[in-house]
């Protein structure tokens, strides 16, 4: 197990380097003069521009700039953004918010999605099954920003059940509606995936054996069939985490959440390359770690999969 984790972590290094280089390249290919507008209503003095360009290695070719950036990042310094604030400080503040949001979205997605999937799976072909299938198809086809706006209007403005926007230090209650919106697409996918796998496993021989040897149906389904149906679902949730992080950009915009997504979006608009690269790199690393965690979970769910 320990060996496996170390090997996976080592394998992550080239992926992280490649990914960050891609991001670095795209971000610093952003057109526009980074010193424009930094000195108010007049062009910056030549001495300042020269100092700024030297500080950010703007005159080096791209691979060298990237190497210098990595060397600096390795010491834990992600540089400062346009306003002279340390990117690490910004990220720390905003990661708490987005992390809360993403975790809540995953929780919503897992709880509601799996529950709906089980309900429709054990009653295949009945009313509840059709209801789940139709409603999930409905949710999948509506773009998430429309769902967000509709929820905000009906649940927030019209019926006043949830706060319309979110404050800078959000509570769990404030984040519930955004998390639901963020996770809505995934709820639908999780429900359908759970249903398909459960239906397949319910017909398997080992479930019949379990019932034949006298286990209650609840135990046979809950312990035997469900556990084996969870592996594809967990895989999906892991991969989908990246989608959640990307989708957070839209959700955070709708509900005015001060998180990572909004930070990246604003930084792109401000041509704030240092901030964008730092924030996106952090997201990618989190995403890779989550997927490592998912792979480790396989072993827990199915003892036949071993990581030795």
């Amino acid at each position: 197990m320990g060996k496996y984790i170390i090997r996976r972590l080592l394998q992550m290094i080239p992926v992280i380097i490649g990914t960050t280089f891609l991001i670095f390249y795209m971000v610093f290919a952003l057109p526009g003069d980074p010193t424009a507008g930094k000195c108010g209503e007049r062009p910056c003095p030549a001495a300042y521009v020269a100092k700024y360009r030297a500080e950010h290695n703007l005159d080096d070719p791209m691979p060298i700039r990237y190497a210098k950036y990595v060397a600096k990042t390795a010491t834990g310094d992600l540089g400062t953004n346009r306003y002279g604030v340390k990117v690490t400080e910004d990220l720390k503040k905003r990661y708490v918010v987005t992390g809360k949001l993403a975790l809540m979205a995953v929780a919503v997605e897992v709880v509601i999605g799996i529950a709906a999937g089980i309900l429709s799976g054990i009653r295949k072909g009945r009313f509840i099954d059709n209801l789940v299938l139709v409603s999930t198809l409905f949710v999948i086809s509506i773009p998430v920003f429309v769902i967000g706006a509709l929820c905000q209007y009906f649940l927030g403005v019209k019926w006043g059940l949830f706060p319309v926007t979110v404050s800078a230090k959000p509570t769990l209650y404030e984040l519930f509606m955004p998390a639901f919106v963020l996770g809505s697409l995934s709820i639908a996918y999780v429900a359908r995936l759970t249903r398909t796998n459960l239906v397949e496993n319910l017909r398997a021989d080992y479930v019949r054996t379990a019932i034949a040897k006298g286990l209650s149906r609840k135990r046979a389904v809950g312990l035997h069939a469900l556990r084996n149906s969870m592996i594809p679902v967990i895989t999906f949730v892991g991969f989908d985490f990246g989608g959640l992080l990307g989708g957070a950009i839209v959700t955070e915009r709708i509900f005015n959440i001060q998180g990572i997504g909004g930070y990246i979006f604003r930084s792109i608009y401000n041509r704030d390359g240092v901030a964008v690269v730092g924030a996106v790199t952090a997201l990618v690393i989190v995403y890779l770690l989550v997927n490592l965690l998912v792979d480790l979970l396989y072993g827990v769910l199915d003892p036949r999969i071993s990581h030795d």
């Binding site: 080239p14 992926v15 992280i16 490649g18 990914t19 891609l22 991001i23 795209m26 971000v27 290919a29 952003l30 057109p31 198809l137 409905f138 999948i140 086809s141 509506i142 773009p143 998430v144 920003f145 429309v146 706006a149 509709l150 209007y153 403005v157 397949e200 990246g242 989608g243 992080l245 990307g246 989708g247 950009i249 839209v250 915009r253 990246i264 979006f265 792109i268 608009y269 964008v276 996106v280 997201l283 990618v284 995403y287 890779l288």
Partner: protein, 308 residues
């Protein structure tokens, strides 16, 4: 007793069927199953309508989508303008009809590119094996680690679509989504080719001296394409939604280009007072996405013997 009786009955049933029916391939079998599904026909009709709309919008409307009648701005649906008018006084019905082109183009082109790229790379990795496979898989991992929406936003910001001609912007959006969309298809194709490779007919072709290119073209690709086609049909809907999301964020297509995403983005602020401006573009967008997802679902079910 009952067991054997069922077996006998089953054998008789197959014999009876064998007397009248001829041997069918998997494709013919799937087509027979598909023909009986109402959902398949519904989605096919919807897709035909939307594709027609994209090619000849003038078949559906005589109104010029760029004809702004400011005096009637934000009018509710009425006899003159079936879907009402938007804030600029444009006829929403004709905007919706003309908007199909952007979505369908993005969906179809992105799917083509991702299938070609992902399919080719996946096949190469699986067929070549060894260090090629290892290298290709790591490169795939790098692209896979960047969330689709996040990467597309970066790419669009870096290429600055504002003010460029229609097809250039469409191609930029297609490139952005394709660059990040191919890895999942490449992984799928790789695993599916790996399942086909050890089969006897591949070995036989190799023993008969067929060139690698011929083996791949005549034996591997036809037998490994199934999952790729199903997933990419479903993905087509997701790509259309991604395009709309980019337009919604203001970095995909831009006015004066007519697109559902742009219309929704314009209308979302007026959700409370002029819901018709939001409803119709969203409805068409959702129907398109829905049609492709339903088609993919139906094809998958038809090709999967287990669900029959």
């Amino acid at each position: 007793m009952t067991e054997s009786a069922t077996v006998v009955q089953a054998v008789e049933a197959t014999n009876a069927a064998g007397d009248v029916g001829e041997a069918r391939s998997l494709g013919a079998d799937a087509w027979r199953a598909l023909r009986k599904k109402p959902l398949f026909w519904v989605s096919l009709v919807l897709i035909t309508i939307f594709v027609l709309m994209a090619i000849w919008p003038s078949l559906f409307t005589n109104t010029d989508p760029d004809n702004a009648v400011l005096r009637q701005a934000r009018e509710r649906p009425n006899a003159n303008a079936w879907f009402g008018r938007d804030i600029q006084g444009y006829d929403i019905y004709s905007r919706v009809v003309y908007g199909a082109r952007a979505s369908i183009l993005v969906g179809v082109l992105t799917t083509t590119f991702t299938v070609l790229l992902g399919g080719a790379i996946g096949t190469l990795a699986a067929y070549a094996g060894g260090w090629v496979d290892a290298l290709v898989s790591r490169v795939t991992d790098i692209f896979f680690a960047i969330p689709l929406l996040l990467g597309a936003i970066l790419f669009m910001a870096a290429t600055q679509p504002r003010g460029k001609p229609y097809f250039v912007i469409i191609l930029l959006v297609v490139t952005a989504i394709s660059i990040l969309g191919w890895p999942s298809l490449a992984r799928l194709m790789r695993s599916s080719v790996m399942q086909v490779l050890p089969n006897d007919y591949v070995q036989a072709a190799r023993a008969l001296g067929a060139s690698p290119w011929r083996i791949i073209r005549k034996h591997i690709i036809p037998n490994a394409m199934g999952p790729l086609i199903v997933v990419s049909t479903i993905n087509l809907g997701a790509y259309i939604a991604a395009e709309a999301t980019l337009s919604f964020l203001g970095i995909g297509l831009q006015p004066p280009v007519i697109s559902w995403g742009v219309s929704i983005s314009d209308a979302i602020v007026g959700l409370r007072t002029t819901p018709h401006m939001l409803a119709f573009p969203s409805l068409f967008l959702s129907l398109t996405v829905l049609a492709f997802i339903m088609l993919g679902d139906a094809i998958r079910d038809a090709f999967d013997p287990k669900t029959r």
